[in-house]
Subunit: 329 residues, 2 copies
């Protein structure tokens, strides 16, 4: 029976993971029991093994910890059965219990401090922790794509309220990623230009920093969706250096604060959309990484699940105006 | 800027629609104010125009009403601007404020009665109301695909708690539909058989009726996802006749009741996956409609949004076992 081009990871380990949200529909994401949070400083022994911490030589004064996910959706053992070793693409009809890595980035040692509360330099350090981990993961030939993402708030899928993000290293390039790379390549072939180097429609611009722009994308799938795009051409997120990380940290923080102020502190996800690790050299000129932020406002219904088409009740230029106009922070 | 193969309908009308759920995260979908529900019998004047009712000649004793959606995502005027009239496919880079129809099916005259509470014949009547409306909609040459779906409960996207479903008639074939049809065609070309006529793995079977099977699909995207599949080869849902509608009504009701008992009355969506209206004759032997039911249990996070890949913590055979084993109703 064809699975209709959907890739599924079956992971029974995931069924056992706890949730420190009282209920998924709990409107208050901070109403959990902090004293039992394994991500808090002093509870390190309740976590899966640490990969590294920032600063590297810190003890109980760590700022960031990158740890294994205790309920990993992927299996670190390379010879895991069921994995079709020759597939470098994620094509239909594949139900994989897959090889890969699944890590958690604890963004702050203390429970009530969220990413948006950190300074630009501290947010930059979180971004550099992603980069450091990706640099480790890309030494594995069998890892084809790394997805960095953040879930904030129960209705954005978070099971833990302590500020964190996740890094998943996959043995295949997901089909949504291939489709994006392909779509960017088509734009390049038609225009001779990189689609994201071209961005600059004033009415969609929210803000800019030295090295980055933040916009509402032209065909925003979700209301108030935000993209942060490097102003320089860059294929992979892991090309980020320390200077640019602080600059991006400032703009990311600003977007999260604006979103929180204008949209009443919504649950949100962010995803880093980068190129596959072994990118085809012909795709380098057209492929440009970006960070997508999606506040969870309206939810998704049967129409979107059935068709893959989205209904967006807010025009991108109106969303950009609302996010631009928030008072200076 | 490419929209990366996502089709988006911008609809400002949708921003104004009310919600009778106190909050999207309200755990109790019945805690709304019934006396103000426009879908209840006696409140017909608060609704957008009626298309038809069942029985056709009923007055205040109607059982089902098919009405226009007051906050339609689509525009009934054919010459609506922005619509690329030559596209019969929904391909990337398209942001459409589109032509089409958007209807609501009120499944019961009274507020507390949900679809699963109706008799098999009454559920069959709801299914026949879908068919009747699709038969009207397919007389329009410009309508390419009809999506029937149901949202039940706030976290499945429902804004109204009164039992209802929706019918959207689209001027394009959504890309997810094309991909499904293509994937079924590939299976047929490889095996000489229709993929859904072949279904019958005992460990994935939940139940069966005279004309239908219910299974957990082999590569279930979501935990406890259920497919109801006709045992006879059928390309379009609207081929359903009255006998088969009662039979399907019984099996659909049974699945909803089992899901409610075993999974603690979860919010859910169902979608009818049928063929495009003007299906290519070469695709008829491989294309088989089915009804997909998805309980909303775990939510979706940044990984799924970023990659289009899903993590399912429940193996399909385990889900089928749980749904099979519920005591006879
Ligand atoms: N008086 C009246 N007369 C006629 N119609 C009336 C009406 N009052 C309300 N309506 C309509 O009734 C419908 C009820 O639909 P649902 O509760 O299934 O979810 P809704 O469409 O709001 O959004 C969910 O489903 C859509 C489609 O999947 C998603 O885009 C969205 O995010 C999700 O919340 C609404 O579409 C609304 O416009
Ligand atoms: N003591 C410990 N040590 C190490 N790790 C620990 C731990 N206790 C918990 N964890 C891990 O911490 C992670 C916290 O992640 P999130 O809160 O962002 O969402 P989660 O991954 O649960 O699921 C959301 O995101 C995923 C991916 O998008 C979706 O599949 C899912 O539906 C959605 O709810 C979990 O993955 C959990 O396994």
């Amino acid at each position: 029976m064809p699975s209709h081009n959907r890739w599924v990871i079956f992971s029974q380990a995931r069924a056992r993971r706890p949730s420190d949200f009282k209920s998924k529909s709990d409107p208050n994401p901070n109403s959990n029991n902090q004293s039992e949070c394994p991500f808090c400083v002093g509870h390190e022994h309740e976590c899966a093994p640490e990969i590294f911490r920032v600063p590297a030589d810190s003890t109980s004064d760590w700022k960031i910890r990158v740890i294994q996910n205790l309920y990993s959706a992927l299996n670190r053992e390379l010879n895991f059965p069921n994995f079709p070793s020759d597939s470098s693409h994620c094509c239909g009809d594949m139900a994989v219990s897959g090889f890969g890595f699944h890590d958690v980035v604890i963004e702050s040692p203390v429970h009530p401090v969220h990413l948006a509360d950190l300074s630009p330099a501290q947010v930059g350090d979180v971004l550099l922790a992603y980069k450091t981990r990706i640099d480790q993961l890309r030494t594995f030939d069998s890892i084809k794509y790394v997805q960095v993402f953040k879930n904030h708030g129960a209705s954005a899928g978070a099971s833990m309220s302590h500020s964190h993000s996740q890094i998943m290293a996959l043995p295949v390039v997901p089909s949504a990623v291939s489709a994006r790379i392909e779509s960017m390549k088509e734009f390049f072939e038609q225009t001779g230009k990189c689609s994201l180097c071209q961005v600059g429609r004033d009415d969609l611009l929210i803000d800019e920093s030295t090295h980055f722009l933040s916009i509402v994308p032209f065909a925003a799938t979700f209301p108030f969706e935000i993209w942060i795009i490097p102003r320089y051409h860059s294929t992979h997120f892991h090309e980020l250096d320390s200077d640019k990380a602080v600059d991006l940290g400032g703009l990311l923080k600003l977007m999260l604060v604006k979103m929180s102020l204008q949209l009443n502190n919504p649950p949100f996800n962010f995803m880093i959309h980068t190129a596959p690790l072994q990118v085809n050299p012909s795709q380098v000129p057209s492929t440009h990484w970006f960070l997508q932020i999606v506040p969870q406002l309206s939810g998704v219904g049967g129409f979107e699940m059935g068709t893959g088409c989205y209904i967006n009740p807010v025009f991108p230029e109106d969303a950009a105006k609302v996010l631009r106009e928030v008072f200076q922070i």
